[in-house]
């Protein structure tokens, strides 16, 4: 048994949620200039329809930071949840949302959108493209991500049954194809400096300059995935003995797999479409929860959301405090902090790691 008693899921969730609110507040206060909590709360109240505006530009700045923080929370939670669902479905601790082709597909979609914005399309298409404006990229990214997952799922299902191992292999193959197309787009667009820089910047991920719509999109994906959790939480625990054993116990295995896939795809697609490629969260957060608290999915999955949000926002805040704004992409601090921490956890819990 582990040397320390693990905390109970319920209280842990409450503690993490409270911590998250605190970090969100600090994250909004911090920026090119420190705004006190009072100012921030008044600005946020105005957004909610209560209270007066702080005037220009303070109100706009508070709102920018607010959407940034809410987007970061949504992205971290969505990626954490997606990772938990995927690792539960694959019964493999190395699985992450990018396996399904979400990241690759979103990248391809975003690149196409940037090409459109840069003017590399016939006139009629271009006029249509100005409609959504800055939202063109998230829209294309979302469609690209979901489309890729759909393709992977389609190729991996025979006679209407989804095979998990085939899903893994097809995901890898499709990812390679997409990476090839993406590389081709990148090299062909080198002639236009602005476009190629924009495509490259997207792949690094960004939480800057997010708007209300970005936050709404990612929270929409998150809530859609969260709706899946009651239907798969208990069932994923029974998956540990194998799909056949779960079926013998009465679990409708096919439905659980489809729900997990849909939930994971929606949340990861929304997250990547809105914030670009942020690695590491989907892979590491479920492990952190498993090692720190429980592997029962009905508790693991909710904890993954709040842990993912705290992890992403916390690392982002740390990065901004230590290095200043916009110096490094969001994923870097997480890899620098999370990587060694993850190794430390793995070493401490070597014995428990058996099947995972």
């Amino acid at each position: 048994m582990s040397s320390l008693r693990k905390p109970a899921p319920g209280p842990l969730f409450a503690v993490l949620a409270v911590a998250l609110v605190g970090v969100v507040l600090v994250s909004i206060c911090f920026g090119s200039e420190w705004l006190g909590p009072a100012v921030v709360l008044r600005g946020a109240a105005h957004v909610a329809g209560l209270g007066e505006s702080l005037g220009h530009p303070l109100q706009t700045i508070v709102e920018l930071r607010l959407w940034r923080a809410l987007t970061a929370v949504g992205v971290g939670a969505a990626l954490g949840l997606s990772g938990g669902l995927i690792q539960g479905m694959f019964r493999n601790g190395l699985a992450s949302p990018s396996l399904l082709g979400v990241t690759g597909g979103a990248g391809l979609g975003a690149a196409c959108a940037i090409l459109l914005i840069g003017g590399w399309a016939p006139r009629g298409v271009l006029e249509a493209a100005t409609g959504p404006g800055g939202l063109l990229i998230p829209i294309f990214g979302f469609v690209g991500a979901l489309g890729t997952v759909g393709l992977v799922a389609l190729l991996a299902s025979t006679h209407g049954r989804l095979s998990v191992t085939t899903l893994l292999l097809v995901g890898i193959a499709v990812n390679m194809c997409i990476a090839g197309i993406f590389a081709a787009i990148q090299s062909l667009s080198l002639v236009d400096w602005d476009v190629s820089r924009a495509i490259m910047a997207w792949t690094f991920g960004t939480l800057e300059d997010r708007s209300a719509v970005h936050a709404e999109t990612v929270w929409g994906g998150l809530l859609a995935a969260a709706a899946v959790v009651p239907f798969v939480g208990h069932e994923l625990d029974l998956f540990k003995g194998g799909e056949e054993d779960a079926s013998a116990l009465g679990v409708s295995v096919g439905r659980v797999k489809v729900l997990c896939l849909v939930g994971a795809a929606l949340s990861a697609s929304a997250a990547v479409a809105v914030a670009g490629q942020i690695a590491f969260v989907g892979l590491v957060v479920p492990h952190l929860v498993r090692l720190g608290c429980t592997s029962r999915h009905s508790a693991l999955l909710p904890l993954c959301t709040v842990t993912g949000a705290l992890f992403l926002l916390g690392c982002d805040l740390l990065q901004r405090v230590l290095l200043g704004e916009g110096v490094l992409q969001p994923g870097v601090m997480m890899s620098l902090v999370g990587g060694p921490f993850f190794i430390f956890l793995l070493i401490r819990h070597r014995r428990e790691l058996g099947a995972w």
């Binding site: 003995g241 079926s247 013998a248 009465g250 099947a355 995972w356």
Partner: protein
């Protein structure tokens, strides 16, 4: 009397190599009633495990049908079927982080509501199951810490917790020492005595002889013999299937009945203290 579980004309194929599809089951008819412990024996590759999976609804046969209490198995929803049929698999992958009590509670899945956790009735069922399988003292242990015999009994406990009336057990004694082998079969026997039906697949002809109500012998996907123990465990029946390195004898039971035993032994002969007395 409507059999608890009945199979008619089961055919199961899987895609083989260039030679074409392989028939694991080639037209099998079977029935088992409440209170019966049907033991299925046969050499490796005779289709025993496939038969069990078809009976449990885990594999869809190419032809034929399985009926549970008169209704076709396919008509049952997953949970409904799990409330009627419990499978005890041969082995499960390593389950770190899972306590015995949690594992056995997994058997209650078919009875749980979606939005509520385990209720008092579920906890009672788990307690009873653990007690019946004689593993109550192990309830707070991790699954990975159990010995072979303990794990087998916990698997049976989970099936008991399902409160199903039909048990399908796959090779329960494969890796157990003799004492535990008998314990597990005794447990299954006790369960059957409470108006349940059980189909047990095993290699062990002698355990089959001790505990079975009826025996079914399979070979090459077909049922080649079926009936009471004394009729099936005979040289004429077993030799074509298992070969000739078998010695036969009988043991007298406490209740006066005689049960045959089969000893796989190359060469050798029984001496004077012949077991037939």
């Amino acid at each position: 009397m409507v059999g608890a579980l009945e199979a008619r004309g089961l055919v199961f194929e899987y895609a083989g190599d260039d030679a074409g599809p392989v028939r694991a089951l080639d037209g099998v008819d079977l029935r088992v009633a409440d209170g019966e412990l049907l033991v299925v024996i046969g050499p490796n590759g005779s289709g025993k495990s496939t038969l069990l999976r078809c009976l449990g609804g885990l594999a869809r046969p190419r032809a034929g049908m399985v009926a549970l209490r008169g209704r076709e198995l396919g008509a049952y929803a997953g949970r409904g079927r799990a409330r009627e049929i419990a499978m005890v698999p041969q082995y499960l992958p390593a389950l770190p982080d899972v306590l015995v009590a949690e594992f056995v509670m997994g058997g209650r899945y078919a009875h749980l509501g979606r939005w509520s956790g385990p209720a008092a009735v579920d906890r009672r069922a788990v307690d009873l199951a653990l007690a019946a399988a004689d593993v109550s003292t192990l309830r707070q242990r991790l699954m990975t810490e159990l010995s072979g015999g303990q794990r087998q009994r916990v698997l049976v406990a989970r099936a008991l917790a399902q409160e199903a009336r039909v048990f399908l057990v796959d090779e329960p004694t494969a890796s157990l020492d003799p004492e535990h082998q008998i314990h597990v079969f005794q447990l299954i026997s006790r369960t059957v005595a409470q108006a349940r039906a059980a189909v047990v697949v095993t290699h062990d002809l002698n355990l089959a002889s001790q505990f079975a109500t009826r025996l079914a012998l399979m070979d090459g996907g077909r049922l080649v013999a079926e009936g009471p123990v004394g009729e099936v465990l005979r040289r004429e029946v077993l030799e074509p299937v298992y070969g000739s390195a078998l010695h036969f004898g009988t043991l007298r039971q406490a209740d006066g009945s005689r049960r045959p035993f089969v000893l796989p032994w190359a060469g050798g002969q029984f001496e004077d203290d012949s077991p037939s007395t």
